[in-house]
C-alpha cells in the first residue's frame, strides 16, 4: 500500500533550508568582511 505524505511539508522544509541558509551565508559574509576591514584599519594605527 502506498503511504500518503503531505507534499507541502517537504516543500516548506526545502524553502526554509534554501532561504534561511542563504540569508545566513549573506549575513556571515558581510559581518566577516566588516570585521576583517576593521582589523586592517586597526593595524594601520601606530
Amino acid at each position: 500500500m502506498r503511504e500518503t505524505l503531505d507534499p507541502w511539508i517537504f516543500v516548506y522544509a526545502a524553502y526554509a533550508v534554501g532561504v534561511g541558509g542563504t540569508a545566513l551565508v549573506i549575513a556571515w559574509s558581510l559581518i566577516s568582511m566588516r570585521a576583517a576591514e576593521r582589523r586592517r584599519e586597526r593595524s594601520r594605527e601606530p
Binding site: 507541502w8 526545502a14 533550508v17 541558509g21 558581510l30 568582511m33 576583517a36 586592517r40 593595524s43
Partner: protein, 246 residues
Amino acid sequence: MHGFANPARFVRLARWLMPLLLGIGVALAGAALVWGLFFAPAERLQGETVRILYVHVPSAWLGMGGWTAIAVASFVELVWRHPLAGIAARAAAVPGAFFTAVCLITGSLWGRPAWGTWWVWDGRLTSMLVLLFLYFGYIALAQAASGAESGGHEASRIAAVFGLVGAVNIPIIHYSVLWWNSLHQPPSITIGKSAMAADFLVPLLVATLGFSLIFGGVVLARMRAILADSQAEARLRRKAMARGAA
C-alpha cells in the same frame, strides 16, 4: 586581466558591485521563490513537490559552478600567478559548499515523497556528495595555506592543484545520469533547448539568475574579507619585526 590584479582597484570595484549583486540577487530570487511557491502550477506527475525544484536546481548548478570557478581561478593562479586568483578561489569555496549542501538536502526532501526514499547510492547523488567532501578538503587546505607562517605560498599552490584535480568530478556529476542507471532524471535543460514547459522554466531561470547574483555578491564579500585579513596580518608582522630589530 592583470589590470584587475591591483588589490586597491579590486576593492574600489567590489565596493559598489557587491551591494548591487546582492540587492538584485535577493530581489530576483525572492520573487522567483514566491512565484514558484504560490503562482506556478503543480506538475501532473510530481504534484506540489515540483516546487522544490526552484531551490534544488539553482543550488545544484551553483554547487558545480562554484567548483568550476575554483578550478579556473586555481589555473590562473598557477600559470599567471595572478595575485587575486588564489583569493577568488578561496572565496568561492564556502558559498560553493553551502549550495552543494542545499542541493543534497532539498534533493533528499524531494526524494522522500517522489521516490519513497531519502537517499539512494546512485551516480548523481553519490558524485554530488563527493563534491561536498571535496569542498571540505579544499576549505581545510586553503585555511592551512592562509595560516602557514612559512611555506604559505607552497600550501597555497597545493590548494590550487587540489582545486584543479577536483574538477574531474564536475563532468562525472553532469554525465552520471547518462552513464549509469539512476533514479535521478536525465537533464531537462541543455544549451539551447528545454524539455520543460514555460510555466516551470521561467521561474526556474529567474531563481537561478537571482541565486547566481547572490553567489557573486558573497564571493566578492569573501574576497574583500580575505584581502583585508592578509593585509592586516602583513602589517602586524612588519610591526613586530621592526620592534624586534629596534
